[in-house]
Symmetry: D2
Subunit: 425 residues, 4 copies
């Protein structure tokens, strides 16, 4: 394996004449992110003396960003030996990569890899035999199962789509080690989806279109947590928001929250801008484009680019004009339809994704889940586990204290009252 790895490193190796500069930039990015990520920093401070991760090899398959570097450096401070590969061929920030390499992290990644190179990196990491695997999208989990890599004690996964793949794996072949569903932590999905994606979607709209939000009619398709976050931000900036939904309970909630609720087709001639965030396919389809207002904007904030039928647009106008970066204007039956970022998730396009503060919540759950595995792997069943509630609460507690916020505690009498709960009233 050693040979392979070194071969691998060579094959991925890039001589940066300016690798020192890259390191410096990466270091600045890391330091900035550290200041924004107060929760994981507090957790690190608490545990770094005890080195609870000493003697553990950790394998991370994540987007290589400044926030990830904070998680990696935290795990290192707790004593771990660490390898990392990229969860996505496009998401490697090479300055961060360089910063991690200088800090003796095994980085199996390069800028702009070919598809083959990308998968090779993940396989390399899998073969390096990590004890614990932290994944984003379950690619690494899939590969270690397919290749029957042994001696893995446990793992974590932080995306909805990754969890689906793990559930499928579990139902088909069973899992070889326990995996903790970090995505399910309240302090993760709750804040990430609502606040993080809400704000970053608005930012993506402002950046790509430069339009005034106030006074415009936005149609938000889907009133899950992401839709709620986006709608709330838009209203806060003076927009008028219409919601489309298929779930009557969510539709009713949107209605009583003061939004206009309609069928998509009824909104088509009125909306200035459409944002899909349903997690479903075929939201705005070939039957809908004709009914749009001339000059309408279309954006997707869902994870996959299946919500708007982009392929159809290209059949109707093969050479759309690009009036601004990330915007294509299609002419369909004499009307202009402006598509943002080819229907890919808008808050990542050309932006920085979620704010560091939101990643802080997710990665704090990751770090505490890794610690939890190191202590409990012997007793954990080989299946998908919820994040233990005490981890979720711990993250919230540290978050509050890092913001300087103190809260109340239950008295003994109150705990009793809660437990007896009215029964004797």
């Amino acid at each position: 394996m050693k040979n392979k790895s070194s071969t691998h490193k060579r094959s991925l190796g890039v001589k940066y004449t300016n690798s020192r500069d890259l390191f410096e930039t990466g270091k600045l990015s890391y330091e900035w992110a550290v200041r924004m990520m107060k929760i994981i920093t507090k957790i690190t401070e608490k545990y770094q003396r005890a080195k609870p991760l000493a003697n553990f090899k950790l394998g991370f398959c994540l987007h290589i960003t400044k926030e990830t570097s904070v998680l990696i450096m935290a795990a290192k401070a707790l004593g771990a030996e660490i390898s990392i590969c990229s969860a996505n061929p496009l998401s490697v920030q090479i300055d961060v990569m360089e910063f991690l390499r200088y800090n003796e992290i095994n980085v199996f990644a390069k800028k702009d890899p070919s598809k083959v190179e990308f998968f090779e990196s993940i396989i390399h990491l899998a073969k390096s035999k990590p004890h614990i695997i932290t994944d984003d999208g379950a690619e690494l989990h899939s590969i270690v199962h397919k290749r029957k890599i042994k001696d893995i004690l446990g793992g974590t996964e932080q995306t909805t789509s990754g969890i689906f793949r793990i559930l499928s794996l579990e139902s088909k072949t069973g899992l070889n080690y326990p995996i903790i569903d970090v995505n399910n932590a309240k302090t993760k999905h709750f804040f990430d989806n609502r606040y993080g994606t809400g704000q970053s979607t608005i930012y993506g709209l402002m950046k790509t279109l430069g339009i005034l939000i106030a006074g415009k009619i936005f149609v938000v398709c889907g009133y899950g947590w992401v839709g709620k976050g986006i709608s709330s931000c838009l209203r806060g900036l003076g927009a008028r928001v219409t919601i489309t939904e298929v779930d009557p309970i969510k539709a009713l909630e949107a209605h009583i929250d003061g939004f206009d609720v309609q069928r998509l087709k009824d909104t088509l001639p009125k909306g200035d801008c459409f944002i899909t965030c349903t997690g479903q396919r075929d939201i705005i389809t070939k039957y809908d484009f004709d009914l749009l207002k001339n000059g309408a904007f279309l954006a997707n904030a869902g994870h996959f680019d299946v919500e708007i039928d982009v392929a159809y647009l290209y059949t109707q106008d093969k050479h759309p004009v690009q009036p601004r970066p990330y915007v294509e204007s299609f002419i369909i039956k004499g009307k202009k339809i402006n598509l943002i970022a080819k229907g890919r998730v808008i808050n990542l396009v050309g932006g920085e994704g979620n704010p560091s503060e939101v990643m802080d919540l997710s990665f704090s759950n990751q770090l505490l889940s890794i610690l939890y595995i190191t202590k409990n792997y012997k007793n954990l069943e080989k299946k998908l586990h919820q994040v233990p509630n005490q981890i979720d609460e711990k993250v919230a507690q540290v978050a509050l204290s890092s913001f300087g916020i103190k809260i109340d505690n239950l008295t003994r009498e109150q705990v009793d009252y809660h437990n007896k709960a009215y029964v004797n009233y």
Copy 2:
């Protein structure tokens, strides 16, 4: 039964010289409520030809209000034979009672009953052998279990505290028939707690205090659904809101929702008005009153009057002044502390409780749950059941259509997509 009933009527009977007037007033109230309660009205229209409740005797133990009369008349229109008693000695609206009597409902209630009379009414109803019992607080359920009344096919319960009693009953002696926990319907607790209680608490404050909300500092103790509703309404009217919590995850949520989060004791010298809605006891205690600002207002929006230590206030100032209805001003160490409604739930005090539209959601769940029992009682285990999800969705669907709102439906491809769920991505 006829004899008993007539005896009963005599024993509780009151000769109103003006019973015709009362009936007319009750009829107007009923008609007003019908117009506000579009969901249950639509459900009634749908089923009234088929008379699915014919041959069923229903027993209701509810607050006798105009909204209740809509539920009762709906059940009657569906063919049921109906008896009703009051769930609370203080909540009988006699005009509504008279209206129901004229419509041949067996009403076991009177205005201002003694405690003995109050319980007698419930016992009378129990003895009338209803097939299905609809309760608010589980008093009737308790009595039919204690007295071992037979032949009950099923029941429903709509309050949190009633559910606790039923759970206690279930764990001690088992249930004699299946009971549906209507309180747990999303379309009930969700809208009721957040929107209903939010608005009616604000109304109670305006009514009892007459103060300007804008610019004042409100401290809301508890950030559950009720606390969220109240805080959102207050902010919407220009108040500054501080939240106190014991649950770090809720505290974090309040923080990111833009509220100031503090320990109660830190808020005491600053708050203009305190509203408790924790469902806990001992929120504002004898140790806290001294630290309040001179002239502070105290109100409780929780179900029980245990959140503010009212008893202590009376030990410190035995004869508080009553500057306004429902307000008492205590002088404690030279400072004025204004207590609203003796610390009892503010939105019911001197008000009309929840708006009819909110009761419409709850009672539609009740009616559909009753129908569900008539069809499924043979197969239902004798235990507490969740409201079936299809009832919850049905209520939401009818609600939307009664507001003239249309929503989208999943296509077959979308259903497939959801089921396969990314697995093959």
Copy 3:
């Protein structure tokens, strides 16, 4: 004068067997209002030693409410000799009247006066020869001009409609003394119209209708300060708000504030509740009622009851049902139209009008304007004057300090910078 006054008292005099009780109630109301009216209380504290109003006879023609009693007692504390009559036959609170009498204020008023008695009271007050007149609606100003009462040094007026009458008087015959237009103070009309009327209109709606605000469609006719206040409160409680306007600039402002802007006729079939606040006549007319949704609610928040064509409604349904206090349901072409408070200003109906805190701002302007007249009447032209800006700012300053708020001051360099103003840049 003494004789006359005592005669007057006899003629208006009512023997309350319980005048002591009335006094006690009035005293409680006064004391409550004092606590809410911190600005005028602070001003009183500042000046009461110097007694700047000693040797001045003040005549007030105001609504006799608890807030007015605070103004009156403040003027008394500053040394004035005071007479008061009621500005409206319906607005006398007799407990407050009794409280004032016990405090040696000459009260020319009685409960439920006939029209003749009402005007007689004002004439009595006019004849008592006050030095300074404080009016609400300019009735007293009109009478002293008509009757050519001499020796008046100056006056104030606080309503828009009163100002119109004074302007008319000024243009026709000239004024006999300087009058200060307190209505025009920024700290008066600004807060009063926007926050005071906004909140109290919402309160009036909740009280008379008992409806859930969230999710309903409200049509607010007019986007002046009152319309802005109402719209903002409604949105804050979860309503959807549509604005109608005739002024394109205000319409544009409403649009960019995120409201739906339409012609009235386009809103008729959609609105759940209409609120007129234009200051104009004929907003909802006989041509409009037919187009309303069955069950629509109509309310007026404008000063006069000319905005909704109420008279026409009575021609179509002579005996409307009264399902709730202050609500009449007219049947017009088979549809129910619910009119609130006969189209009179909703926030006063059955309510307490503006919160004390808002009256505090207005009455502080009144008191400081009276003081201003005592010092400057010799130099003031006999015409209508704006409230001097230093009074406006003084009120704001005392308001802030009474709320415990400190603000910054300009440095000398900043004053210079402002004066030179960029000229040399």
Copy 4:
């Protein structure tokens, strides 16, 4: 003049090997802006047949942006002969410049001019003897006055600072022609300051800092229109906002709007991010930096960079780190202070300034004011004039109609009612 001009063109002339590409990009930008600027487009459509600007030479001194190109092309469509120079050496977008040149506009500008070249361009334009001058900052107005250029019929100016210069000019030497103060149009300053700057400041913060807005404490210094816009947007995104003010009336307004109002020095240890928008100097000074929280962010949204004492920061830390573009981190007494954009106006930095829709309002006022001058210059006094109210209303009307919004009109009876105004009530 011809020679000079051609010389000038030569001296400024740049051979772009890719001028065709620049033109194409400029054209796309122009076309995008046209679609966003519906008001000026409607006005152009209305007048372009009549060519009311034929025979007029117009001189524009503006930022050369895509929005400006829309104004220029509109004036051209109305028949004018046009010259343009840049109002700021840094604000020339060369693709737009190239697009204008291809459309036969005389462009006196080049990319990155020296200071001398910059002023030369303006002088060249002045010497080209325009009939009407449209200015941004009054540089061109100053120069034509200083150089006593003759035959100018009138002019316009759209910035606050430009107006100050013109007032100074007027008071010292008098004006040689009438100038219309476009800045004063309600449809300009109102929307521009509140909505435009509000949104673009938030965008600038998100872009430069990448921070989560929700839950953070922002201190907004100044509660004028800009401060109101920023505060409202921040609150809409979940931030907690504290206001500092020197004007007690504005401070009171902020308080009743629900914001926390404090002295700057009391906010220093608590604020996460400070935004100055006072139009004053010395808001955050050397005495304040020490008191800031470690890691605080400082930004300025005021026109000039005099609100934060940036110079002092450089004396304390000569080599601040640049962790992100446009951000400098100063270490002062062990604490990090993050300054954005060197204290220059944040919404222009690295952004696109105000959204096109906001410029549309301003430039529509410009275009209609130019038309107004062509018709009325003979009768206009040689002084600064307000924008005529009918222009302001016209812009609002066209804006509404371009958004598809219809509003009501006053009836004859209503006009009468307004005129008689209550006098006879």
